[in-house]
Amino acid sequence: MRVIRHIAVNVFKESVRDKVLYNLVVFAVLLISLSYLIGQLTAGQDMKIIKDLGLASISIFGLLIAIFIGIGLVWKEVERRSIYALLSKPMRRSELVLGKYCGLVLTLLINIAVMTIAFYALLAYINWVIDPAVRLSWPAPAVDPAMLKAIVLIVIELMLVTAIALFFSTFSSPFLSAILTIGIWVIGHFGADLRNFGGVVGSPVAAAVARGLYYVLPNFSAFDVKAQVVHGQAVPLGYVGLTSLYGLTYLALVLVGAVAIFSRRDFK
């Protein structure tokens, strides 16, 4: 555990030095702030668009960080040949992979925390300046703690995406890792179509394969409760708990796979 912690802190420090990361976070905070202006175009729906844009920004920029840092995590060490120096140290290969993963997740959490604070600060400001009569028309309060449920699920989703990016980075180039990770992320949103494939095609084999893929591939659409929290609809804690458990179990599976591949990889 100590080794994993050391590697994680190192990865975090390296990420903090990465200018691309700063640019992404600054851009996300700017976009969240700009949503206040964009909201003026929506005929009274400014609160809805501010919340939609804020949550989407946290999700999209988190995704960019997860993918574009995740795909290079292991590959960079291999490319720089520093992997030999690392593996000669008294640590297991699994500790290296898990340490890298934890470091990136720590980076992700801090960035999402910054974006979340900026988001809530904007909502608090709007709540303070707006006419009380307008506040009554909102389906949910401006500074709504229920949005944290959406953010928690975004975090779990991004942890899973990071694990997938890391998995691919253990054996392929950054470009291919990015394509594969994004591909899995996109396909993960079509779970309902895969599940209902049997109703569209006549072939039972194709329907069975689609159904199998539905269960095996990560179901990313389950993590999306942004629309529900914005509309003030209830998102049961049980749902958040079960979805989080699904996400954490799946990422554990992916990490085990990443460790297995990395452990068997020959760096000669």
Partner: protein
């Protein structure tokens, strides 16, 4: 230093060229082409393409719908078209089925008569029926349907039915059931219309809707005024045996103290041949709704 000067000079040149370009006559479109383009119209496709950002994409289409409606309404083009309004609203509400304001405002936009809107109450009804499929327990959509049938289609039986059905839902205001009864009994009279628009004004949380309700209430005031003036003209005829030639005759007879004006301060017109009173052609309250005032002809 030289680099900075070069950059400033090039920037100034770019801005100047853009200003020159703006002054040139814009390139015309072929006849019949509106210039409005919506590349993707399929809600099913967009819902899939949006991945987990469908609510945000709904906001984008909603902004586009408002810009399209507002921009088209304000233009002076005699052949203006609102051809993208319904597809944009359909996309918005397909991406976010809980986007209540898109259904509510959208149905009002669609029903507005040309040139203020596309004049398509049938599309308003389609949009509100879609709203009811997504949220069957929302009384407001049933009320909005009743409103469309009442105000734009003058179908008072169907309107009364929708008001009644709205009134039966939990949370519905208690004036809906009596409104249904009055609508069924008296049809499209000014008093019922005034009740509807007053409720719209009182419950509207958007400035646009309050402005719209204020405008309609002023139209109803104009109808009341016209009805009252026609009774005055009739009284003049009963007394003198002929219709007045102008408002001056009515004033001289002591029925009025000044030439009458509508709530928007435009002079009302008297037809000396028929005794009918109408708005001035340039009155901002035109066209008046097809609603009868008490005692009107």
């Amino acid at each position: 230093m030289r680099t900075i000067v070069t950059i400033i000079a090039l920037l100034a040149a770019v801005v100047g060229l853009q200003a020159m370009q703006e002054r040139r006559q814009p390139l015309g479109l072929p006849p019949g082409a509106t210039g409005n383009v919506l590349y993707v119209r399929s809600p099913e496709f967009m819902r899939r393409a949006a991945l987990s950002y469908h609510a945000l994409l709904a906001d984008v289409y909603w902004i586009r719908a408002i810009q399209h409606y507002g921009g088209t309404k304000l233009t002076n083009d005699p052949s203006k078209q609102y051809d993208l309004l319904y597809p944009l609203l359909d996309l918005t509400t397909s991406l976010d089925p809980n986007f209540d304001i898109a259904y509510g405002f959208g149905s009002l936009f669609l029903a507005e008569p040309y040139p203020s809107g596309p004049g398509r109450p049938d599309l308003s009804i389609a949009l509100l029926q879609k709203a009811l499929r997504a949220q069957p327990d929302k009384w407001r959509f049933r009320e909005d349907l009743g409103f469309i049938y009442y105000w734009w289609l003058n179908d008072y039986v169907t309107a009364a039915d929708w008001f009644k059905r709205a009134g039966e839902l939990p949370g519905a205001p208690n004036w809906l059931k009596p409104l249904a009864a009055v609508t069924l009994a008296q049809g499209g009279n000014v008093a019922t219309s005034r009740t509807l628009w007053t409720e719209v004004f009182n419950t509207a949380d958007q400035d646009w809707l309050r402005t719209q309700a204020t405008f309609r209430l002023r139209q109803l005031d104009a109808l009341d005024e016209i009805a009252a003036l026609e009774r005055v003209v009739e009284a003049y005829r009963a007394r003198t045996g002929s219709l007045p030639r102008s408002w001056i005759d009515v004033i001289r007879a002591g029925y009025l103290t000044a030439p009458p004006a509508d709530p928007a301060e435009y002079p009302l017109q008297l037809d000396s041949a028929s005794g009918k009173v109408t708005l001035a052609g340039n009155s901002s309250l035109n066209p008046l709704p097809a609603t009868t005032a008490p005692g009107a002809k």
